[in-house]
């Protein structure tokens, strides 16, 4: 099994005074489905271009399979990139597109055709080799682009938001398909996206980026349940942030005094807080329940958004707007009315206290 790992060794990329990537330091394991998640302009595409060889890091090194890639051009790296708009060659047929990597390596016509047919079988589109690219549907183009990239037999496949142009149903279908292809070929996938749904459902691990900085790296559930910065907590999924002052800390749990009352919650990132320090408590909408016995408070219902299985309830408490997700109890449940008083609470382990920092909406 070849070494298909990528090591970013203190990589910084600057354009003049602007720092696109600031001291990225992480290892992507061989055969992993790894995603960079972040809002547009966070530096994730710059990172991708740096790994694929279209730009060189200003500082630090990129190692692929343990080899330093400094000075190695994109055509010499064991990577293949799937562009956001796919960049299929419109003047070539589907088979010519897929076999292009073999053509430039001097393979014979027969060999090229054989490989193209093989890959078309793999992406479950046999027999379309002689079609023009313009005759394909969006999903077919997507799969042809993947086949073309795999024809290189790369160690690393880089994907730059390739699903963003597809409609919702197809996008969801392609998520499953991408994951299946990755398991089948065993190539390391590095996936760039601003869509947290894509990142969380497909990836083995996710790196959340903001303003050129990698905020957190980890498995999807850890990213969601144990955010380590205010940005990650506010960017990944919905969250309620309550700003306040630390009253005290004992081990993993600290008490925070907020306008809504004093709450106890888990301390994010194993930090130690001094009393009087400012911090934010994040609690997910689905963790605010009427049944919880701890951290209780009162709130007034302001509006509701019904979305089938879930009912999004918005409530106010001490001038703070809160978002609460309630499971649809069906006809057996009692409906909530406007202006109704809610008595809610949450478990200390299901909330995180994090230092004050920039939030997703400000990114």
């Amino acid at each position: 099994m070849p070494d298909r790992s990528v090591l970013l060794d203190h990589v910084s990329i600057r354009f003049g005074n602007f720092t696109a990537v600031d001291n990225a330091n992480l290892k992507i394991n061989s055969g992993e489905f790894f995603s960079f998640l972040g809002p547009s302009g966070c530096g994730k595409t710059t990172m991708l271009r740096c790994i694929s060889g279209f730009s060189e890091p200003t500082e630090g090194r990129v190692l692929i399979g343990g080899k330093d890639m400094a000075g190695v051009g994109p055509n010499k790296r064991p990577t293949a990139l799937i562009f956001q708009h796919l960049a299929l060659f419109p003047l070539m047929t589907v088979a010519e597109n897929i076999a292009f990597p073999l053509e430039v390596r001097g393979a014979s016509k027969k060999e090229r055709r054989k490989k193209a047919d093989e890959l078309l079988d793999m992406i479950a589109l046999p027999g379309i080799g002689d079609k023009k690219v313009s005759e394909l549907s969006g999903g077919q183009k997507q799969r042809v682009a993947i086949a073309r990239a795999l024809a290189v037999e790369p160690d690393i496949l880089l994907l730059d938001e390739p699903l963003s142009a597809l409609d919702l149903k197809l996008r969801q279908h392609m998520r499953t398909e991408l994951r299946a292809i990755q398991k089948q070929v065993g190539v390391t996938f590095i996936y760039i996206t601003h869509d947290q749904g894509e990142a969380l459902t497909m990836s083995d691990r996710v790196a959340v980026m903001s303003r050129g900085v990698i905020e957190q790296v980890g498995e999807p559930d850890l990213i969601y349940n144990r955010p380590r910065s205010a940005f990650v907590a506010s960017f990944v999924g919905e969250n309620n942030g309550l700003q306040g002052v630390i009253k005290g800390q004992s081990g993993e749990v600290a008490a925070l005094e907020t306008p809504m009352g004093t709450f106890e919650a888990r301390v994010g990132g194993g930090r130690k807080y001094k009393p009087g320090e400012e911090a934010i408590l994040f609690v997910r909408p689905e963790q605010l329940t009427p049944g919880a016995s701890t951290n209780r408070f009162e709130a007034t219902l302001t509006r509701q958004e019904f979305e089938g299985a879930t009912n999004h309830v918005f409530a106010r408490s001490a001038d703070t707007e809160l978002r609460i997700s309630m499971v649809n109890a069906g006809l057996a449940g009692s409906p909530l009315g406007q202006g109704e008083n809610l008595s809610l609470g949450f478990a200390p382990m299901n909330a995180t206290i994090l230092p004050v920092g920039h939030m997703a909406s400000e990114a």
């Binding site: 279209f54 960049a87 003047l91 292009f100 073309r148 024809a151």
Partner: protein, 396 residues
């Protein structure tokens, strides 16, 4: 409403007359045997002017020179234009605007200036290097024309490049192509139609150029300069014959291209795909651009052959005979007039007026008066036009 359509129709007729009238007249004059290009009076249908055109060694040599120079210009201006366009597409915006102005400048500079500056510069260079071969009409004309013709080519390429998706090149590089392969296999095929049109435009621009060429060609001559000097010495219908040939070539090219475009649109499933022409296999074959071209060429070859067999000498001899007869009649009438005048003069007394010889025609002492008839035709450009009257014989 009806007034509008009436006006519109009249305007359209006037417009097309203005546009194509001269061409139609020119085509007709090519077949009139009159020595001066004109439609009336119609003398004889002749194809002789085509023969005269092909027999003109100066024009035919110029044509060959023009073709050589044109091919040289295409071979150099197209790559230079492509390189310029590529360079512009790679530059940052501010530098690009500046370089664009510099590269486009030769189009705005009068051709005369380019021509003179080309001879001055290369004259210096060839003297400086001691290489006389550089100071040569062909070389200078190619170099001089390239200075502005390559800018035309560049404009064509810039337009096409604006529609190129640069990630295509990146994708090719990423898939393992070298920069050279990415250029040959991705960018060049994309540019192919533009290369075709740039080659065509540069060939035409080179062929029809006069202002620059007339200086740079030195003692040689191209088709255009030979034509210009011929016109300076008077025009004859062999130039109309040349116009007929050029119009024919253009029409064949345009019709073939139109057939090609329509067929392409039909294959792409455009509105012309529904035309019954493409449903029937026979008409479908007939509308193939190759077939259209072959048919047109065959028709023209047939007409040319028939034309080359046409002999108008009998008719021309008759016309000449007719002219001579008319001339003779005129001369006789003139002679009669003069005699009548002399007879009258003899009956009048001698004039002693102060104006003496001033009104010589009346003075008996003056020699035989000049004829009242038109001045004898000089060998002017309009020779044949006002001819038909030979210089009067000596009067007595």
């Amino acid at each position: 409403m009806t007034r509008n359509t009436l006006f519109g129709g009249a305007y359209a007729i006037a417009f097309f007359t203005f546009l194509f009238g001269p061409l139609v007249i020119m085509v007709i004059t090519a077949f009139n045997s009159s020595r001066f290009p004109r439609v009336v009076p119609w003398e004889c249908f002749t194809t002789g002017w085509f023969g005269e055109l092909l027999g003109n060694a100066r024009l035919m040599d110029g044509l060959l020179n023009s073709v050589i120079i044109g091919l040289g210009v295409v071979a150099l201006a197209v790559p230079i234009g492509l390189a310029g366009a590529l360079a512009l597409s790679e530059l940052p915006a501010r530098l690009r605007a500046m370089l664009y102005t510099v590269l486009i400048l030769p189009i705005l500079i009068p051709g005369v200036v380019l021509g003179i500056s080309t001879i001055v510069l290369w004259g210096q260079i060839s003297r400086g290097l001691g290489v006389g071969a550089l100071y040569n009409g062909f070389f200078l004309t190619i170099v001089g024309q390239i200075t502005f013709v390559s800018a035309y080519a560049m404009l064509v390429f810039i337009a096409r490049l604006q529609r190129f998706d640069a990630t295509q090149t990146e994708a090719a590089l990423d898939l393992g192509a070298t920069p050279g392969q990415a250029f040959r296999k991705i960018l060049l095929p994309f540019m192919a139609p533009a290369i075709g049109s740039a080659a065509f435009i540069t060939l035409l621009a080179s062929f029809e150029n006069y202002n620059t060429t007339v200086f740079t060609v030195l003692s040689e001559s191209t088709f255009t300069t030979a034509l210009a000097s011929k016109v300076r010495h008077g025009t004859d219908p062999s130039l109309s014959a040349l116009a007929v040939i050029i119009i024919t070539i253009t029409l064949v090219g345009a019709l073939t291209n139109e057939a090609y475009q329509r067929r392409k649109a039909a294959q792409a499933g455009g509105p012309s795909a529904r035309s019954p022409l493409y449903a029937n296999p026979i008409t479908q074959a007939l509308t193939h651009p190759g077939v259209v071209f072959a048919i047109l060429v065959t028709v023209i070859a047939g007409l040319s052959y028939a034309g080359s067999r046409h002999d108008s000498s009998v008719c021309e001899a008759a016309v000449l005979q007719d002219k001579m007869a008319r001339q003779e009649a005129l001369r006789a009438a003139q002679q009669e007039k003069i005699e009548a005048q002399q007879a009258q003069e003899n009956t009048l007394p001698k004039s002693n007026s102060a104006f003496g010889g001033a009104f010589g025609g009346l003075g008996g002492s003056t020699p035989a008066p000049e004829p009242v008839a038109p001045k004898p035709a000089s060998p002017s450009a309009f020779g044949g036009a006002f001819g038909g009257i030979a210089p009067p014989q000596s009067d007595d």
